[in-house]
């Protein structure tokens, strides 16, 4: 993955080794800035935006309606009961939080690894993280039954004279997810500051000047500020990298620390993290492919980006496949009748069809990504990404439901099926997520302008007669 733009001597777009460029040819500082900010500054909102926003906003209203009904009636409107007390709420929570992970991976880990191609996708991938975490957070909150007491999860001196149980992964989850949400917001906002200043300086509307002016906090591009900014950005990336790994590890602890067969497994943390990145990159592709086509951003989100993301999806998908394999092997080979039964029940029990559907869509179908023809065909890639997203959702469904519905005592076995309110909540959060994405695309620069400008060879200081000439001039 070394297709970064060559040094100052070469134009971007002519890297020589035949690799596609990370930015189209012929751009200047001004045209990069105008191309990106024109989407935000445009007076007229495109019709396609309105249609997309209307659909997702309607679904978001369905979510709000569900939440109101839930608060009125209680969690009994969902299909959960004993023995399957977690159901869709936890399935969706893990799914959403996993999707968020690709945003942090792109913005932090790829920055530390000097992957220049991250530049045009990191901004909206980070936005995706924030919105996915917002959707994820709703589920455990509402699943509590009395969400208005959510603050009981935090350690604060109270008249009941009790404290949270810090030995419980559910409390770790509270800290992990709230830290993750906060740090993602900070990282995103710090990245936005210079671009907010750009919009502030070039918008024509008074309202925009004030609004973006407040958000940009008076950024003026001072060299002293840039230096501190770069230090901060790099350190935040260094902090976010272990954070993103820890968050999904803690999420997997919700399962792995329990002694339930099928959950109590040390492979959960690594394979959850890989699965999170897998689904996250799928979501980035689902967002990026229509976006670049709709706004004509093919010069910024190029074939390199799509192909690299496809390769990461393939790699993490293989890790996930390995996880399934080891899980099955350990279950069957463990010599523990409960573990063994749980694995056989997962494959051939009443929910077996979901297991095999999962293997098909999450392991078998993504193997088409080995073919370069598929990786370089955006519509095809889009479909594969959708398949992976549904596969990762199925994975959580299989893990949560099959382990819970039959435990040690056959007398306590039961079945689970979601109600219409489970579905309306799930589809509602998808609408909520996309509604937020649409607002973000309209009102904030979805690609980092300052970082894209540094991809141009002109952004580098030349240490030759150029500099000498300027010095002699005085």
């Amino acid at each position: 993955m070394e297709q970064e733009t060559a040094g100052p001597e070469a134009r971007p777009g002519a890297t020589g080794d035949g690799a596609p460029p990370v930015i189209g040819p012929g751009y200047t500082f001004r045209s990069v800035e105008e191309k990106i900010s024109s989407i935000t500054l445009a007076r007229r909102t495109p019709r396609g935006w309105w249609i997309g926003f209307a659909i997702s906003f309607t679904l978001a209203m369905v979510m709000l309606y569900t939440i109101c009904y839930l608060l009125l009636k209680g969690v009994g409107i969902w299909g959960i009961n004993i023995p399957v007390a977690w159901g869709f709420a936890i399935v969706n929570f893990v799914w959403w939080i996993g999707i968020g992970h690709a945003g942090t991976l792109i913005s932090a880990i790829l920055l530390l690894l000097h992957q220049k191609w991250r530049t045009s996708i990191n901004r909206f991938a980070e936005a995706m993280t924030l919105f996915a975490v917002a959707c994820a957070g709703l589920f455990p909150l509402l699943h509590m039954g009395r969400p208005w007491f959510f603050y009981w999860l935090f350690p604060y001196p109270n008249t009941m004279e009790i404290w949270p149980q810090f030995r419980s992964p559910l409390i770790w989850d509270v800290f992990a997810v709230s830290t993750y949400g906060t740090v993602s917001l900070l990282f995103w906002y710090v990245g936005l500051i210079p671009d907010l200043a750009t919009i502030r300086d070039h918008t024509k509307s008074r309202f925009g000047q004030i609004g973006y002016g407040i958000l940009a906090m008076g950024w003026r591009g001072s060299a002293y500020h840039w230096k501190r900014y770069e230090v901060t950005y790099l350190i935040l990336a260094g902090l976010a990298t272990p954070l993103v790994v820890s968050v999904h590890t803690v999420v997997s602890f919700d399962f792995a620390v329990a002694i339930l067969p099928g959950w109590h497994s040390t492979i959960f943390p690594p394979y959850f993290v890989a699965g999170a990145i897998y689904s996250g990159f799928a979501m980035v592709l689902v967002l990026a492919i229509p976006l670049r086509a709709f706004y004509g951003l093919e010069d910024f989100i190029t074939q390199v980006h799509l192909q690299n993301m496809a390769k990461i999806m393939l790699a993490t998908g293989l890790v996930v496949g390995y996880g399934y394999g080891i899980e099955a092997f350990m279950g069957l080979y463990s010599g523990n009748i409960y573990e063994k039964y749980s694995q056989i029940n997962r494959m051939f029990g009443p929910y077996g069809v979901y297991y095999w559907a999962l293997i098909t869509v999450n392991v078998a179908i993504p193997q088409v990504l080995w073919l370069k023809r598929v990786r370089s065909n955006p519509p095809f890639l889009f479909v594969v990404a959708l398949v992976v997203l549904s596969g990762m959702w199925l994975e959580r469904y299989v893990i949560v439901i099959t382990s819970l519905h039959r435990d040690y005592l056959p007398s306590s076995w039961g079945m689970y099926s979601p109600t219409v309110w489970d579905w309306s909540m799930f589809l509602g959060t998808i609408g909520f997520f996309f509604a937020l994405m649409f607002l973000f695309i309209r009102f904030l620069p979805m690609i980092s302008i300052a970082e894209m400008q540094t991809l141009l060879p002109e952004s580098r200081v030349q240490h030759d007669d150029h500099a000498g000439a300027a010095q002699e001039a005085h």
């Binding site: 404290w163 810090f166 003026r220 350190i235």
Partner: protein
């Protein structure tokens, strides 16, 4: 040293990052000290040219992280050992392995908050008003303009001589920045 009431400094605009860095070098060689350079994106050599090599931010962030670690562990110790001890099969109350996840998360949280608020504090942001915003061309500093501003507070600053010096650096334009 003459004072110029109502004048913040002189602002020269350059075409390229290379020209700006060269201009900063010349200004430093000439003996100017109170100046700042402005660009739409970070230029590594610029801070070096201004003689700004070290920032205490990393140290602050480290302190923030350490504060996070100590307070997180202290909080959990207080809750689980002192204030509300729960005896689970005689296991130790100070069960440190299960206190690690929260400690780790709070290290990251405190360090990140220190990083961002430290950045803003050291840069003096938010600062909605700055004299430079009076200059209409300065809007290009967030698009494709590269600026050097020598401030009137500089001991060597002289309205005419500094103007001439900046004009000699081959800028696109030199303008006065009102206070």
């Amino acid at each position: 040293m003459a004072t110029y009431p109502g004048l913040y400094g002189l602002l020269a605009e350059f075409e390229t990052p290379t020209a700006l860095v060269a201009a900063v070098h010349s200004a430093r060689q000439t003996g100017y000290t109170r100046m700042d350079a402005y660009s739409p994106f970070p230029i590594e050599e610029l801070a070096d040219a201004l003689g700004f090599r070290w920032t205490k931010l990393p140290l602050l962030i480290l302190l923030g992280g350490i504060t996070g670690a100590v307070s997180a562990y202290a909080l959990q110790y207080y809750c689980a050992v002192i204030s509300y001890p729960v005896n689970v099969g005689g296991r130790p109350l100070n069960s440190w392995p299960s206190f690690i996840p929260v400690t780790f998360e709070l290290i990251i949280l405190f360090a990140s908050l220190t990083a961002v608020f430290g950045l803003l504090a050291l840069c003096g942001l938010p600062m909605p008003y700055h004299p430079l915003f009076h200059v209409p061309r300065f809007a290009r500093a967030t698009r494709d303009g590269f600026f050097l501003c020598i401030e009137a507070a500089d001991p060597r600053f002289d309205r005419a001589a500094t103007n001439q010096f900046l004009a000699g650096l081959n800028p696109r334009e030199v303008s006065e920045v009102p206070q």
